[in-house]
Structures are given as C-alpha cells and as structure tokens.
Symmetry: C2
Subunit: 203 residues, 2 copies
C-alpha cells in the first residue's frame, strides 16, 4: 500500500483498536449490488489510485484550503469552539484524509475496510470526534454536511483523475467507480450516525 | 410544469396535505453551498429537464424493470410480504417516480420542494410507506438501500441526458448538476430517517 507518510497520527486501519462493525462482508455485497459496484469498478479504482497517489496532498489541500476553509459551516469543524484555527489538528487529519483517498482506491473492500469505515464515521460523530487528536472543536459533523460535501469531492476529483493523460473514456470509468465507492461508503457511514443507542440524532 | 399525466395518484406536491419540514430555505442554502450547487447548476438542470421530459417513462422503466426487478433486496419493497408483484402499486409509484425526475430538474427549490422531499422520504419509512396506495408491502426501505440506489440512478441517467445531441461538455454539466441535486436531496431525506422521536432506526 502506498502511503503519504509511514506513520500517520491516529491512522489505525486494520489494528486491534478498531471496533468490529455489525456490517458483514455479505451485507457489503448486497450494498455493492444496490450501488451497481462491479469487479470492473474495482479495477478502475486501482488505476485511479495509481493516478491519484502522487496528487493526494494537492487534492486534500484543494478541498481544505480552497473549499472547506471558505465555507464557515464546514470550516468550523476543524477549528476551536471560538473559531480559531488548530493547525496541528488540521495537519494530522489532512494526512488521514490523503490516506483515505488511497484506501478508497487501493484497499480490498473486506471486513477491515468495513470496520474502518465505521471508525472514520464515528470520528465524525460525538462518540469519537476530536478524541484521537486530543483537541477541542465542534462536538460532531452533522451527517447532512458530510453527505453534502461528498458531492463536491466527486465533482472536483475529476481533473485529478485526468491528470495522467488517460483517455476520456478511462477517466469516465475511473470517475464513475469513484462516485459509486463514495456512495457505498456513505451507506456504511449512516450506520454509526443512526445508532441512537449510542448517540442522539446528529444529522 | 410538464407532467407525465394530469392526475398522478398520491402526488400531493404543494398541497395542504404535505407536512411542513423543519428545514428552511435558509438551511437549504447552507446545504447548497456544501454540495457546491450553484445558479449555473440550476440552469443545467432546466436544460436536463427539457431533455429528459420525453424520456421519463423509459427511464423509470429502465430502473424498475432492468435494475430493481433483478435485485431481490430492492424489488421486495414494491411486492407483497410473500414476494408477489403488486402491479397497481408499481404503476402508481412509477408515475410518481417519473414526476420526481421532472421535479428534480424543473421545480424551484423552495419551501414547497423541501416539504415534498420530506414527504417522499417519509413514504419510504415506516411512518408512511404503503399508506398512500393502501397496499401491504415491506414496512420501510432501509436508508442505506435508498442511498445506494442513487449511485445507480446517477450512472444510468447519463445516456438519457446525451440523447438530445448536446455537446459532451453540456452533457457533463447537466450530469454534474443532476448528481449534486441528488446528493442535496439525500441530505434532506436523512432528516425523516433520523427522526427517532417518530420511528426507530431504519438505516
């Protein structure tokens, strides 16, 4: 696996610290069918991962500095309750954000991947937000903002997919596979958000 | 407004029967910003509506007969608990499905539109599913299946957007606007699904 650094703070993919999800690989297979995610899409994502790997820092910078930072409603989630920047928090979570792009494209979608989807989702809810970095910020990111921002990611990733000179059709295939993966991930994310035994409604 | 028929059973858009949503037009503006949905996208959707209007029956037929019908996990939601088809239910909900395509492209996204998003979402939860058509079927459609299937709709709508001979760039613009609108709608749909004062977790 290609990684932006060898040691990403708070990145616990595949480790024993990550709680097991109730969603099984069989459940995921059902969801893949509903999303229309096929083995071809897996291949397109592998290629996308190769194309995106040298660009992940630039992409996350684009999302963070050019987009999120200019939307107060989103920017607040990486700032203090008073609205001050927390550069260390941003730096660490950016590294994880970069790695997430790679994981989306290059990891097998197995139980470890499902479990880590749950972990990332929880880190956006009041159950775990801020904890891994030991910061004080907003208590959670409302699910609707997460879901909304995926549309921006889907739109803005496309030029980066085209940056290696692939044909329009190849770029389209990679982009389609990316969009389906993101929606697949969102179907997993709503689980932790909907688990009202653990937390109140945070949509 | 262009409509597939003048009188769609159970289609109550803009009527007094539709409950008011807690989401305001101001909330929607915030969500539009997070989704990256701009006035340009509105224009692209208007054009998409003109292109799709003569095709809505074919599109819904494609989704229903070619895709949903072959995915048991999805097909069951328009069948009896024993798995028998309910042709009248399907026919009526298909007409509403067709109209939803037009509403997505051609309606102004105002309070009536927000309220009707909530209404449609509720009709997929145990609060209202089956009621408007007076049928016995599954009690609700899990949110994850709704969310998953939007990826299929986004993928399969594209050739229909290209059917009027627009340039690749125009088709891309229409498609991008469509995808953003769908994600915007999903951010509204999760509201009723997350309202655990009304119903249990149905993700």
């Amino acid at each position: 696996m290609s990684k932006p650094t060898d040691n990403i703070p708070g990145y616990t993919y595949g480790s024993a610290e990550v709680a097991k999800a109730r969603v099984s690989v069989e459940d995921l297979e059902q969801l893949k069918i509903s999303v229309g995610f096929t083995p071809d899409d897996e291949q397109h994502l592998r290629r996308a991962g190769e194309v995106l790997a040298p660009q992940v820092r630039k992409i996350v910078e684009h999302w963070r500095a050019n987009i999120i930072a200019s939307i107060p409603n989103l920017a607040r989630h990486s700032r203090s309750p008073e609205g001050s920047p927390i550069p260390e928090y941003l730096a660490k979570s950016n590294l994880r954000f970069e790695q997430w792009i790679l994981d989306t494209c290059l990891r097998p979608y197995d139980q470890a991947w499902i479990d880590y989807q749950q972990e990332i989702a929880r880190r956006h809810t009041s159950v775990k937000k801020n904890q891994v970095d030991g910061v004080t910020s907003t208590p959670y990111v409302p699910l609707r903002d997460v879901l909304a921002f995926t549309a921006v990611m889907n739109e803005t990733i496309r030029p980066y997919l085209a940056a290696a000179g692939n044909s329009e059709e190849e770029v389209e295939n990679m982009h389609r596979a990316w969009c389906k993966s993101i929606q697949l991930q969102m179907t997993l994310w709503i689980g932790p958000y909907s688990d009202t035994r653990v937390e109140p409604s945070e949509w």
